[in-house]
């Protein structure tokens, strides 16, 4: 149904796939995501749409091989295979208008989803300053693409193997301390990074937005599994978000909820691993 048209490894464990999903590609706006099922028995996982090509009817997804499904996708699915389900584009699109100067931060895997956002903001007439951060040089990807849709780009690596040594928050603080104009900040990446950005910008008076990646099932507001407190009110991330005012997010709850299935997930991975070992032993 949803044919994979290309697949490549961008960095260790980071996979880029293009998938045929014409209806999704035709209507995708920056900040939206899809729910993907690898096969009929698979789980439904949310992945941000990193790019779309309405002419070809294709969307691009980028994922890290960390969980049961992403590992399966990385190891067993190749160009020519098909995904069982791709649903989207879901979520409220990122708010795009002419703000002035927008600092867009992508950390690790978060570099992929900021691509359409930078592109959209630039098309709306903003000056886009991108900060992209990686653990080290060999994990870098898409910085060239981000450069093509931003006016200025800063690269950080944790170990200093490329660009500035340090975290994205260090680069952001440096910009701010240097008196750089910023009318809005958007940060996407691991929750710890988004929280760190939020804490940094709290006293600056700059509106800061993050894209939350909670556990989801349907992605349409039906299960409430994605819920989290925002400004004291329960919100469903899949429909009310995924973008929220960073300063209103209940980060403690967000972190706790992300670990809701850590035990089950670990058990599933171990079981898979054992199956594989047993299977290999049999083959030998």
């Amino acid at each position: 149904m949803y044919a994979i048209t290309s697949k490549r490894t961008l960095a260790k464990g980071v996979i880029e796939m293009t998938v045929q999903a014409p209806r999704v590609a035709a209507h995708h706006k920056p900040g939206q995501f899809v729910i993907v099922m690898s096969d009929e028995h698979g789980e439904r996982i949310p992945l941000t749409i990193a790019d779309s090509d309405p002419q070809k009817g294709e969307i691009t997804i980028v994922f890290l091989e960390v969980g049961k499904t992403t590992i399966q996708l990385g190891e067993q699915f190749n160009a020519g295979d098909s995904l069982f389900a791709v649903v989207g584009p879901l979520g409220t699109p990122t708010h795009v208008e002419k703000f002035g100067t927008v600092v867009v931060i992508g950390g690790g895997l978060g570099v992929a989803p900021i691509y359409p956002i930078c592109k959209g903001l630039k098309e709306a007439g903003n000056r886009v300053v991108a900060i992209v951060g990686y653990r080290s040089k060999d994990l870098m990807f898409w910085h060239d693409r981000i450069a093509s849709v931003s006016d200025e780009m800063l690269v950080t690596t944790d170990d200093g193997s490329f660009g500035e040594k340090g975290l994205v928050t260090d680069a952001l603080a440096k910009l701010h301390d240097g008196g750089a104009k910023m009318d809005r900040i958007i940060a996407i990446g691991p929750p710890v990074m988004m929280r760190a950005v939020s804490e940094k910008t709290k006293d600056w008076g700059v509106s800061t937005w993050v894209s939350l990646n909670t556990i989801m099932i349907d992605g349409t507001g039906m299960c409430g599994g994605c819920r989290v407190h925002i400004g004291g009110e329960t919100k469903f991330v899949c429909v009310d978000g995924p973008d929220f005012d960073a300063h209103k997010v209940d980060w403690g709850e967000m972190f706790a909820r992300m670990k809701g299935y850590a035990k089950e997930e670990r058990m599933a991975l171990e079981a898979d691993h054992k199956c594989k070992l047993a299977f290999e032993a049999l083959r030998r």
Partner: protein, 493 residues
């Protein structure tokens, strides 16, 4: 289809012979899986009548000339006629006859709250209390027999193609029955479903042990066989913008159900281990999390589970919790037993399986452990006061009556409301209470031209039979609308 049925052998009457109804006899129990056994599996609990049992039960029916059961049935199935056909061994004819009125007999025979509808009205209650004809079980028997002993297709001549294109949104009972009828009327029907499997609540909500998914899929296949194009993974309002639907079709039926879970908004509700009923049920039913090692979707295996509420949903949840291995699974309900809206048979089955029911009790907050997982619910005792707007006595908290119930899983089953995705994306569509779509109860027309709506989307969470009825009546109304050259006679919602 002519099977050799020896109706005399089965205890019925030969065609032309006079039936001697045995209404004084007790209603025939349905064979069930033993409670101790069934809590370890997901197979259907009620096993259904054999032909001999069905005939025996049918022989109790008086076949009243003025049947009260028929009046009480929301779709007015000709109950005495189909039961009479069973008594005479005409099982297929009985199934066909039911199908004239009800598009989903195999489903409704299993899940309708008959004890409040047709069976409550049965005249035998007057002389032989608590022993009405088991109409639901007989309906199920006919539908199952027909599925098993024929190609499952209902005699349905399609009318010549009209050239009109109709869009149906949502594949629950309402959308499916509307789509089927529109197709039979000769219209070209596209049905869009947001989830990856069609069936609506019948797939994601009602568990396998009460409604086998194979039955739902048979109904879906039948609708497909009529030429309806069912496309899954299409969220109208996102994947397919509402404007494209309005531009691309001559008429639209919105049957998007009531899928938005209500929560109570009390402290601790977002702790891990606190689920909405929809999430719990979706993981188990649609995503099949009960099949450990097969399904990719995880579910918490509760040890002590508290289920808040006492409707259909709450009883389904509590019975699933037991099957997932819960040592204690408890319903907590703020009113008394008499007000519990759940289906009688289900309450009985749940108690046989070991569910505990704690009435006149309401949660006030949830307590968590250091990792953000629920460890207890604090509840408050209630007493009943004056009747409220629903006619039921209003529960009032008793002061200083709070106590803790330890638990590791909580499932909040206090009802669902419609999703706002379609209303908020369809300019001009009027709603009540923010999400219930306003539609005329005779024509099913909404406040937007050429858009009709029915089922839970216009009533809030109700029943399969009401959703089915709305689908069929709306199909008739849409057909009239499409064939009317002026298309102006419709009163707005």
């Amino acid at each position: 289809m002519a099977d050799a049925i020896d109706i005399v052998e089965l205890g019925g009457v030969k065609e032309g012979d006079k039936k001697k109804p045995r209404s004084k006899e007790k209603r025939l129990d349905i064979a069930c899986q033993d409670a101790k056994e069934r809590i370890h599996n997901y197979n259907e609990v009620a096993l259904g009548y054999s032909p001999k049992e069905a005939v025996a039960e049918s022989m109790r029916c008086l076949e009243c000339p003025k049947p009260r059961c028929m009046v009480a049935c929301p779709v007015h199935i000709d109950i005495p006629t189909f039961i009479g056909l069973i008594s005479r061994g005409k099982f297929h004819e009985a199934a066909e006859d039911i199908h004239k009125y009800n598009a989903l007999p195999a489903v409704c025979g299993r899940v309708c709250p008959q004890e409040n509808l047709c069976e409550a009205a049965c005249i035998i209650n007057d002389t032989n209390p608590h022993n009405p004809i088991a109409i639901g079980r007989l309906e199920r028997f006919c539908a199952d027999y027909h599925f098993l002993h024929s190609d499952g297709e209902h005699a349905a001549p399609l009318k010549p193609a009209t050239g009109y294109k109709v869009c149906v949104i949502g594949s629950g009972p309402s959308g499916l029955s509307c789509a089927a009828d529109l197709a039979k009327m000769g219209h070209k029907v596209d049905l869009f479903e947001a989830l990856h499997k069609p069936g609506g609540v019948m797939m994601y909500g009602i568990p396998e042990f009460r409604l086998p998914k194979a039955i739902v899929q048979k109904e879906v296949n039948y609708v497909r066989s009529l030429g309806v194009n069912i496309e899954c993974n299409v969220v109208v309002g996102r994947t397919l913008p509402v404007k494209e639907v309005l531009d691309g079709y001559d008429a639209v039926y919105v049957a998007s159900g009531a899928g938005y879970p209500n929560m109570m908004g009390i402290p601790g509700e977002n702790l891990n281990g606190v689920y909405s009923a929809n999430e719990f049920l979706t993981r188990v039913n649609l995503m099949q999390a009960w099949q450990e090692g097969v399904a990719g979707t995880p579910i918490r295996r509760p040890r002590r589970c508290v289920v808040v509420g006492a409707g259909f949903t709450a009883f389904d949840v509590v019975r699933i919790a037991l099957r997932l291995g819960a040592q204690e699974a408890r319903i907590v309900y703020r009113r008394s037993r008499d007000e519990m809206p759940g289906r009688g048979e289900e309450i009985e089955h749940a108690e046989q399986e070991g569910a505990i029911i704690t009435v006149l009790t309401n949660p006030v907050k949830y307590l968590g452990d250091e990792n953000g997982f629920v460890r207890a619910v604090v509840v408050q005792k209630m007493e009943l006061g004056e009747p409220d707007s629903s006619g039921r006595r209003r529960p009032i908290p008793i002061k200083d009556s709070e106590y803790e119930i330890p638990c590791d899983t909580v499932v909040v089953s206090i009802g669902q409301t419609p999703n706002v995705l379609i209303p908020s994306n369809m300019p001009g569509l009027k709603t009540r209470w923010g999400s219930i779509i306003q539609a005329n109860r005779e024509t099913y027309m909404t406040t937007v031209p050429k858009v009709f709506a029915g089922g839970d989307a216009i009533t809030g969470a109700a029943t399969v039979i009401l959703a089915t009825r709305a689908g069929r009546e709306a199909a008739r109304s849409m057909d009239a609308y499409l064939r009317d050259p002026a298309r102006a006679w419709y009163p707005p919602a």
